[in-house]
């Protein structure tokens, strides 16, 4: 009796040790890190409708930034947005995904200009919105909230560190792409991971997802 108890205890310890290791090594579930809470944000889209971080709750949101006169630094993110839009048009199931491009030049980028930008980019308004907002609020949200730097320069244009940001349905920042040339495959993979997480992390599976966070099962 006693002997079996002791063996059982050894077995349990071994099981815990090896399952911990196996989880970390084989990473049965992959997740994106939770980098922190995204900022509160208030925007107007190309139709003059109001859009806020509250109304976006429950949606996975991919943000890109720019302004109508922006050339090279904004082209990389535009190609990514287009690729994600193609995937969304093919359908992602029950989890809504929203693409949002924010112009930080509201003085120039009126709704009419935003509509033109949207048309030029081939945006489908069902998936991809072009927005801008009140300058001070934008500065707090983009600069302070997303830590994405932009500022007016002497040539009347903007200095801008190209970046894209991915936010999940809880408003948590899950990925940042701080490069002028983000990889389309990487962003697509990350969006898919968030969609899967939102679909699957219910009931007991939620704990498996939490374990994946603890073990840093990042792609």
């Amino acid at each position: 009796m006693m002997r079996w108890l002791v063996r059982g205890a050894y077995g349990l310890v071994a099981l815990i040790a090896f399952s911990t290791l196996a989880f970390a090594v084989f990473q049965p579930i992959k997740v994106l890190p939770r980098a922190g809470l995204g900022p509160g944000i208030l925007l107007q889209d190309q139709e003059g409708r109001t859009l806020s971080s509250d109304t976006l709750r429950g949606k996975i949101v991919l943000y890109s930034f720019g302004f109508s006169r922006c050339e090279t630094p904004c082209q990389g993110s535009q190609a990514v947005m287009q690729a994600v839009q193609r995937e969304l048009q093919a359908g992602t199931g029950s989890v809504p995904v929203q693409l949002v491009t924010i112009s930080f030049d509201p003085a120039t980028d009126t709704p009419a200009v935003l509509r033109r930008m949207s048309a030029q980019a081939g945006a489908d308004p069902a998936h991809w919105l072009f927005t801008t907002g009140e300058p001070r609020r934008l500065k707090y949200a983009i600069g302070g909230g997303f830590s994405v730097y932009y500022g007016a320069n002497e040539e009347g244009s903007f200095d801008y560190d190209p970046a894209m940001v991915l936010i999940d349905g809880w408003g948590i920042l899950r990925a940042e792409y701080r490069t002028p040339t983000p990889k389309i495959e990487t962003v697509l993979r990350d969006v898919r991971l968030l969609v899967e997480e939102a679909q699957n992390s219910t009931g007991v599976a939620r704990y498996a997802y939490e374990a994946a966070h603890l073990f840093l099962c990042y792609p």
Binding site: P33, R136, Y140, G143, G145, S147, V148, Y149, G151, R178
Partner: protein, 166 residues
């Protein structure tokens, strides 16, 4: 043959064991609460491993042009490049009450970064970016030191944060 299984513990020693356990438990709860509920931050992986040989090249990373810039009113970021035996920039001036996030990396050996009067204290390792934020509420001059041995000039490696009146 010894078939004895019972562990005899003196009553006073039992009391001592209980006190020791409780003390350790209280410490652990207090420290972890401060760390996770009150938000005393430790540096964590930035998930951006860099190549220390290229990190200082302008254009390659944000450390190509280290310095201070405003993200939004009252919110700044300082990118500091460490190398034997200096920090770039060596002097950082901020208005009082501003939140500053420090991003520090090194292009050669390991360094350290400890900013007086704040909870910013981390190792600076090649290939890794260390990040912590602080807000100074009192104007003054605060030194930041390199606190890891980095060669014969180690003792000269420091810089200053100058916190000015608004």
């Amino acid at each position: 043959m010894n078939n004895h299984t019972h562990l005899h513990i003196h009553p006073i020693e039992r009391l001592w064991i209980i006190i020791s356990f409780s003390m350790i438990g209280v410490f652990a709860v207090a420290v972890l609460t401060a760390g996770f509920a009150y938000g005393f931050q430790l540096p964590v992986p930035e998930d951006r491993i860099v190549d220390p040989n290229l990190v200082a090249t302008p254009g390659a990373t944000a450390f190509g042009e280290p310095g201070l810039r405003e993200l939004s009113p009252g919110n700044m970021e300082a990118r500091v490049l460490a190398q034997a035996w200096s920090f770039t920039p060596k002097e950082i001036t901020i208005p009082v009450g501003t939140k500053v996030t420090f991003y520090v990396t090194t292009k050669d050996v390991q360094h350290g970064f400890h900013l007086e009067g704040s909870n910013i204290n981390f190792m600076v390792l090649p290939g890794q970016i260390s990040k912590l934020s602080t807000t100074f509420t009192t104007p003054g001059t605060y030194n930041f030191y390199c606190h890891e041995y980095c060669g014969v000039g180690h003792q000269t490696m420091y810089g200053q944060v100058i916190v000015t009146e608004k």
